[in-house]
Subunit: 340 residues, 2 copies
């Protein structure tokens, strides 16, 4: 039995006595403790694949920041790797794939990943679940199929992801074949995460922003919907489609439980569009550069705008590494101490 | 007297017999002819500052693609430079400023640019106006104050512009001082452009996307509005705030004539929100990677969605350098030949 199940109750639409809060990238460089653990690994990939180190950094923000959930430390690109496309994380640059997907033969060569192919992730989850000792829920996650597809075609980050989009425009049938394989891999992976101890799941569609509305529904949301159908009977699931402002009503039609919002979305508009789904978000991470007074007033304004129920407080994107840990803690405290 | 004034008539809300079309970055690397002219200059800055070369590439798309307007070849960062912050354009990386703005002293040191400080731009405009021989209107442009501010603080491109935003959150009064100086410089510059021959103007707010709605109104739109008030009595003006999906109703309250849209915006929604303003946009540049059949059907769908009047056809962002010139031409032809 979880001692603090606020995040799960909020996700399911059950009453909460106060607003739960966690922060994207809370297990990250904003904590000196994270940087110390990170230094023990040779490189980022080794770090991700080390269950003991992943467990350590996952629990740090629960101890240090007092957040209401832990999110397993990992990377969305473990799925392309498990499918047969290894990558490197290049300092100050981001991910880089030696091989990318160009044609049908490349797609046929990729395997549908099984949870067993990501044994290190399963170990990290079960170890973390054990060490968390039921203090707060453990959130698992995966990249949404379109976002993973974008990296697998493009081979790295991109401002426009024009190569990945070119693939959609010129080879839509092949694109669907690859998206289907990624979707099946994601379902296997996320079911494994639940079996290993994840109490809740989040899908990150980080590159939703580059697609038009009709392309988004065809090449992204239908696959997200399939994953939600497979997982939501097991645990609550959040869909975070960054900058897909137009898509909230359609995301609300999937079987997800909660919808993540970036900071360009007005809370009242999102409430109107999201039906009975729980909302998660959406403070601008840069707010945490401001002074205490501004952080407090803006956080409280946001809480009032979203309301007490069906709401999980978070940022609209991950924490930036150069934010001050004390200000991050202040934000968490303001949310937890808010008097409704 | 202009032989083809379709773009101006559409911008002013006057009747047109067919949809006018031009393309952002039409004077650019998508044309082999542009690359040949570009090769004559030592570097990008020298290219921008050479009126003869700028004139040459500005007119190329009118001759080659048959677009209904020319847009002067230049760069939005000429204003920071004229204010006292020189920059370099680094191949495959983008702009880079040796000095950035950090404090009040840095802001006080910057001058308010006068049109005369950008003599090369004025010469390029008057030369182009002459060589265009009134075939089509000549569009001038500037970066919106927030976008220029973002570069002047950050010193380069950025995924998050977190330094520039940190400045807004921590030193809002200083931010307004700098934004005011940029706004005055822009007004001087744009008035000079009109005097030198620009028939119309466009403001590019390329980094609108990183601001929340309330921050956007405070730190960007009020300055855009001031520029529109100063310039719209002279010539029509378009505001293009990329990815500021929430801002269309407020942009419609400024004295601009037309509103540029990116491809995440639904035409019907934009029509509802934009009052009697003309709309410009919003094809996904990646559509031009598709086959001819798809380009034709999507372009025609877009034309029907926007309607015949108060509409200037364009992309939702600039042309990508690796697009096929023939497909770009096809898109232009489809728009021009559409039977209403």
């Amino acid at each position: 039995m979880l001692k603090n199940d606020l995040v799960l109750r909020a996700a399911k639409g059950l009453d909460v006595e106060r607003t739960p809060v966690w922060l994207m990238r809370q297990a990250g460089r904003v904590l000196p403790e994270y940087r110390a653990t990170r230094a023990k690994a040779k490189n980022f990939i080794d770090f991700v694949k080390n269950p003991e180190l992943a467990c350590e950094v996952t629990i740090q923000p629960v101890d240090i920041l007092g957040v209401d959930a832990a999110i397993i430390f990992s990377d969305i690109l473990v799925i392309p790797e498990a499918m047969g496309l290894p990558y490197q994380m290049i300092e100050a640059k981001g991910p880089w794939f030696e091989h990318t997907v160009k044609n049908k033969a490349d797609i046929d060569k990729l395997k549908i990943a099984e949870a067993g192919d990501l044994d290190y992730a399963m170990k990290a989850l079960s170890l973390t679940k054990k060490h968390l000792d039921n203090r707060v829920p453990l959130i698992g996650f995966a990249g949404a199929p379109w976002t993973l597809f974008a990296y697998m075609i493009e081979g790295s980050g991109s401002k426009t992801f024009s190569k990945a989009k070119q693939f959609l425009y010129t080879q839509p049938e092949l694109a669907h074949q690859l998206l289907e394989k990624i979707t099946q891999s994601n379902i296997n992976y996320l079911k494994g995460q639940v079996a290993a101890g994840a109490d809740m799941l989040q899908l990150f569609d980080s590159w939703a922003c580059v697609l038009s509305e009709s392309m988004y529904y065809e090449f992204s949301l239908q696959y997200i919907s399939k994953i939600c159908d497979a997982l939501s009977p097991l645990v609550p699931i959040t869909v975070f489609a960054k900058d897909a402002h137009y898509a909230i009503p359609k995301i609300a039609e999937t079987s997800c439980n909660s919808i993540g919002l970036d900071w360009t979305i007005d809370p009242a508009t999102a409430r109107q569009q999201a039906g009975n789904k729980t909302l998660q978000g959406n403070a601008d991470p840069c707010l945490l550069y401001a002074d205490a007074e501004k952080i407090i007033s803006e956080a409280e304004k946001m809480l009032r705008a979203f309301g007490k129920q069906r709401y999980i407080c978070n940022l609209g994107h991950g924490l930036y590494p150069d934010l001050d840990k004390q200000k991050v803690k202040l934000f968490v405290d303001v949310v937890k101490e808010y008097k409704w």
